[in-house]
């Protein structure tokens, strides 16, 4: 180092260069924030539109007074701070009906009942209300749990405060259609909502509050939103969730959209009482004081998805077994109402048939009774001829292996016909019922008549002895689990 050289020369250059760079960076940041801000451009544009639309001096003065500033709606009761109005300036101005977004007027009819100051924007539309750019507000690509609902799905949030069925003029028609489809397509056979429904699929309470991270999106192509997931999942469940038990229900695109709206609407929010519409309160009241149940509707909602019409035994690809024909006359003639109720109440443990009692599937006793009545229809229970005396279980075993195990499975389980080594079956079926079924078979199902095939009374007696040895009736199984409800059930049965 030459002693005459300035020891601070490098520092000076560094200072000069980095200071100049800093000024450039600061200026760039200032311009980005203050001049190039998206909302400022939108408001400037809106102002020129306002000026152009000013017919008289008063309107012109007002338009000139329109200041370029961030605007927001704060609703503390709903924990909402929405800045959407910084760009959507014209939502309350009827003159903007002919403008394109973001200047366009909001439906005035809707705003009349839902003032922006009371509800904000995201309460209905979702999206990131805090954001000030469209992309972030939309929130699909931003890190935001509840992105802006597409216009076609916005009805989903109506149900937050309303009973959609009570809304006038079909303002939530798609949502209502979705609710109907949910019942008609028998979704409740597998999915619980508010404790009512089957247990093969996950419960759907608050599924509308789930974020996209809670769904398996490995195979989801296209938009990574929950609604796209639901729509695709309804189209092809196995394509999104390999190995799922959910069958492809066969829905049109419009039906899928309606169901998606309904699924998204399944969200419980803690709302201040002032926000609950009267129809919502009535809906809650109706749930607490249910009207007389209709067996046919209940059957459609909870049973038909698996049992279909119930007139014929149905082969299920998913379950790899026959699903019993429960409205089959041959069956109903042999089984009395108590038996039917018992089967619905308890389900068939070990098969896909869940229990539907108050603590399992969530059906009330009256509802189960209504289903039984519907199943029964016109067919009367006929007194069965007495069963032959139980013979030798050992011989029965041999007979079973030769004749029955092919369908009912070795040991009466894991076959594709109804399981016999099943506690509920053992409890519900009388000897007479079993004997009669073996003897005459079951019409409209694959169960043939073994009497015609040559089994005599004694052999049936042997079979009876063997079948009875397969499992303990459910009464003995009571010591573990679900005891209290069964007491009630047993009581009703013994009455």
């Amino acid at each position: 180092m030459h002693p005459n050289s300035d020891p601070a020369r490098l520092s000076k250059w560094a200072l000069l260069v980095s200071s100049v760079l800093s000024i450039v960076f600061l200026a760039a940041a200032a311009i980005r924030e203050n001049v190039a801000a998206e909302w400022k451009g939108v408001q400037r544009e809106y102002k020129t539109i306002l000026l152009a639309k000013s017919a008289d001096a008063v309107a012109r003065r007002r338009a000139e007074a329109f200041s370029i500033e961030i605007r927001q709606v704060t609703v503390p009761a709903l924990k909402v701070v929405d800045r959407c109005v910084s760009c959507h300036n014209g939502i309350e101005d009827g003159r903007m009906a002919d403008q394109s977004q973001p200047h366009r007027t909001h439906s005035q009819e809707l705003l009349k009942w839902h003032p922006v100051a009371k509800f904000g924007c995201t309460t209905c539309h979702q999206g990131q209300g805090l954001a000030l750019t469209f992309n972030d507000a939309k929130g699909e690509e931003a890190f935001w749990d509840y992105p802006l609902l597409p216009a076609a799905l916005t009805e989903a949030t109506c149900a937050t405060c309303h009973d959609p069925r009570a809304l006038s003029r079909g303002s939530a028609a798609k949502l209502v259609r979705g609710m109907e489809l949910f019942d008609v397509k028998g979704c409740a056979s597998c999915h619980k909502i508010e404790g009512k429904g089957g247990s093969l699929g996950p419960a759907l309470d608050n599924v509308g509050l789930k974020t996209k991270h809670q769904f398996m999106r490995a195979h989801l192509s296209g938009s990574q939103t929950t609604w796209n997931w639901h729509s695709e999942h309804l189209r092809d469940p196995g394509g999104l969730v390999p190995g799922t038990k959910m069958p492809s229900v066969g829905l049109t695109a419009a039906e899928r959209e309606a169901l998606t709206v309904y699924i998204l609407s399944l969200r419980k929010r803690d709302l201040p009482e002032a926000y609950l519409a009267n129809d919502k309160i009535e809906e809650k009241y109706a749930k607490l004081h249910p009207a007389a149940p209709k067996g046919e509707a209940l059957y459609a909602k909870y049973c038909s998805h698996c049992h279909d019409t119930g007139l014929y035994a149905r082969w299920s690809k998913n379950f790899k077994r026959f699903i019993p024909a429960i409205r089959n006359q041959a069956f109903l003639r042999l089984e009395d109402d108590e038996c039917l109720a018992e089967n619905i109440l308890e389900g068939r443990p070990g098969t896909e048939m869940p229990g539907w009692g108050p603590k399992a599937g969530g059906l009330r006793e009256a509802e189960i009774q209504a289903i039984v009545e519907y199943l029964r229809g016109e067919t009367k229970f006929t007194a069965l001829p007495p069963a032959p005396a139980r013979g030798s279980a050992e011989r029965g075993h041999r007979l079973f292996t030769m004749n029955c195990a092919g369908c009912h499975g070795v040991g009466g389980k894991n076959g594709f016909a109804p399981a016999l080594a099943n506690a509920v079956f053992q409890k519900a079926a009388t000897d007479a019922f079993i004997a009669e079924t073996i003897r005459n078979g079951r019409g409209n199902t694959p169960m043939p008549s073994f009497g015609r095939a040559g089994l005599g009374q004694q052999e049936i007696g042997d079979l009876l002895a063997y079948i009875r040895s397969l499992a303990q009736p459910v009464r003995q199984a009571r010591s573990y689990g679900r005891a209290p409800e069964r007491d009630q059930v047993a009581g009703s049965e013994e009455r």
Partner: protein, 153 residues
């Protein structure tokens, strides 16, 4: 000559470095100073629904606590007077015998909100009253109207 040129170059560099440094710090400070002033004020709009206009009979004179105003109805219609003292922002008392009195520094206002005593620099503002879409009386505590303006429901 050589020495001199180098010296001047050196001092020019110093000058440029120092001034750009000061300019950069100045620009940064300008940005920093802007930060504490909020770009948008928090809190909800102070627009209140007061209910059916008919529930206020002619001759009503009622102090509204949350709305921070005093609502009047007479033959000419409704008007509302802010109860926030124009002196230093205390909430003034509505007096039985008419007029308003501030408990903090003794400002006094007439029944129509004009200053009649104490340190308050201006009278109490009259607030905008209108009718909402569903036919409720609506008070906009953020908008002022000229004294004497009355709203006919």
């Amino acid at each position: 000559m050589h020495e001199h040129r180098r010296g001047s170059r050196r001092s020019f560099l110093s000058w440029a470095a120092i001034s750009s440094f000061c300019a950069a710090i100045g620009t940064a400070l300008a940005g920093i100073i802007r930060l504490p002033k909020p770009a948008v004020l928090p809190g909800p709009q102070r627009i209140y629904k007061l209910g059916d206009p008919e529930q206020f009979a002619v001759g009503t004179r009622v102090k509204l606590e949350t709305e921070q105003c005093c609502l009047f109805r007479d033959e000419q219609g409704f008007h509302a007077i802010s109860t926030i003292c124009t002196h230093l922002g205390c909430i003034i008392a509505v007096q039985e015998q008419g007029g308003f009195a501030c408990p903090c520094h003794g400002s006094r206002f007439s029944e129509s909100g004009e200053v009649v005593g104490g340190p308050a620099p201006t009278g109490l503002p009259w607030l905008e009253i209108s009718l909402s879409v569903e036919g409720q009386l609506q008070l906009n505590a953020e908008a002022e109207v000229p004294r004497g303006t009355k709203f006919r429901a």
